[in-house]
């Protein structure tokens, strides 16, 4: 019997998700023993025409990482969807929009102005911007269209499963691959990670006091964090309470707080709003009765860039998805 075919593809991403596949180390041999990789731009020399030549649904599983922000990415994932039996959104960007999704706080125009014009490392006196079509002597050159809005994979194509994480840990990938190959498929739309919140599995969970209060906010670089104490109690914003577990507490073990890459724990619709709510609820509770609105505001102002902090990985998947588009920009 022929081995099932598997494809890997990347969209708007950093390459870390590809790296984590390589991080399977010897286990990758088990994967290649069980499947045929028919498309993997980062590692294997297959082209788009090779994918086009495959039959409908011929690829058993496509693992797609990265968010969708250009017409090329949209075309490619639509092609892969057609050729694949299952599509797995691989990593934070495909799952929720990820770090690149933070671009949704700006518009295409603002991004282009910044990158190609006003940035102090940019020299562009003629104000040339990337064009979708450029006429030259040799012919017409084309570039993919750059969208205003970064989208998650499931806002572009139908997605069967999600593998969260920035990047997903190798153990989680291995168990996902084994589950899918075994044929015992979980319910469609499942996130292939535990449903608990990170606090539930945190190695510092026991140090969390009965009544958790953040007296003041500290950023991770401002203090030497005690490696055996709950981050929130130390005044460091940690998104553990609202984030899905399953990451093997990699950040916590490196003495860094959770930044929320696994996305919302089950039942949470908007990770950013929920995180904001959780932190605001435990911040500076003492002596609040006598606090004026200005004093309360000042306390809140300790949180630098709240939108970027709470929506770090999930802006395109959040309720509002992006900054409001002004009429003239449309």
């Amino acid at each position: 019997m022929a081995k099932p075919k598997v494809a890997f593809y990347w969209c708007a991403s950093c390459g870390g998700c590809e790296e984590t596949v390589v991080d399977l180390n010897e286990d990758i041999l088990k994967v290649t023993a069980a499947v045929d990789i028919v498309f993997w731009p980062v590692a294997l020399d297959f082209k788009r025409k090779d994918v086009e030549a495959l039959g409908k649904g011929e690829i058993a599983v496509s693992f797609i990482n990265g968010a969708i922000r250009s017409s090329e990415q949209e075309e490619m994932v639509k092609l892969l969807r057609e050729k694949s039996g299952l599509v797995v959104a691989f990593g934070s960007c495909a799952h929720l929009g990820g770090i690149v999704g933070l671009a949704n706080f700006w518009t295409k125009k603002e991004i282009f102005e910044n990158v190609y014009k006003t940035r102090y490392t940019t020299v562009n006196p003629d104000g040339v911007f990337p064009q979708e079509k450029t006429e030259t002597k040799e012919g017409t050159l084309t570039l993919p269209k750059f969208y205003d809005t970064v989208k998650t994979l499931d806002q572009t194509i139908d997605v069967d499963y999600y593998l969260p994480g920035c990047p997903p840990p190798p153990s989680l990938i291995m168990s996902a691959v084994t589950t899918i190959l075994s044929g015992k498929l979980p319910e469609k739309g499942a996130v292939l990670a535990p449903n608990k919140s990170l606090c539930d599995t945190c190695p510092r969970a026991d140090t969390k006091p009965e009544k958790l209060i953040m007296k003041e906010i500290k950023r991770p670089h401002e203090i030497m964090a005690d490696p055996n104490k709950c981050f929130l109690e130390q005044g460091i914003i940690c998104l553990g309470p609202v984030t899905r577990a399953g990451c093997e507490e990699r950040c916590i073990n490196a003495n860094m707080p959770c930044r929320g890459c696994f996305g919302p724990a089950k039942g949470i619709e908007d990770q950013g709003a929920k995180g904001l709510s959780a932190i605001a609820s435990i911040l500076g509770v003492e002596g609040e009765e006598k606090m004026t609105d200005e004093e309360a505001k000042k306390m809140i102002d300790q949180i630098v860039d709240p939108a970027g902090t709470f929506y770090r990985f999930s802006l395109p998947a959040s309720l509002l998805k992006r900054k409001k588009m002004k009429e003239e920009v449309k």
């Binding site: 809005t149 904001l276 009765e289 609105d293 505001k297 809140i300 949180i303 709240p306 939108a307």
Partner: protein, 157 residues
């Protein structure tokens, strides 16, 4: 006041009506123990105030999750009013302080979403302040009228 075109126009799908006079749609989350009772008093005292507010009774202002507020903005609210007990009066001792912190923090985030922070308003209104409720809601409606419709539609490009 006549027909409330902002709300009815939407229901009837008569967009041209809405464009003629913009009537803000305001979602009001009112705490059971103070502000909702205050709004009730405004009603039983027959105090006149504008009908653009849609009241939603919650047990405590701190029951209002920031998600509820964002959801309201996403689905067509032009403004959100949260009414709670005066400091020190919270039925659950400190719920209103939590609300205050969340609202102040959410206001900062709203700016990044391109939503004017004054579309979200937090007011302490007690059960005896029917008149204040009417005044606050009238003033808030006028403030939102000046800001214009929020229209959070998403661009596809």
């Amino acid at each position: 006041m006549g027909i409330n075109m902002g709300i009815c126009g939407d229901v009837l799908g008569k967009k041209d009506l809405m464009e003629k006079t913009f009537e803000p749609k305001i979602i009001c989350f009112l705490c059971n123990w103070c502000t909702y009772a205050g709004a009730d008093l405004a009603g039983t005292s027959r105090i006149q105030y504008k009908p653009n507010g849609i009241p939603i009774r919650v047990m405590c202002s701190s029951r209002v999750d920031p998600m509820h507020i964002l959801w309201a903005f996403k689905h067509g609210a032009d403004g959100v009013l949260i009414g709670g007990c005066h400091p020190g009066d919270c039925h659950y001792q400190n719920g209103n302080y939590k609300t205050r912190r969340r609202v102040f923090l959410l206001e900062k985030v709203l700016k990044d979403f391109g939503i004017e922070p004054n579309r979200l308003k937090l007011e302490w209104i007690s059960a005896s302040e029917g008149r204040k409720y009417a005044k606050v809601i009238d003033e808030f409606i006028e403030e939102i009228r000046k800001l214009g419709p929020l229209a959070m539609e998403q661009s596809e490009e």
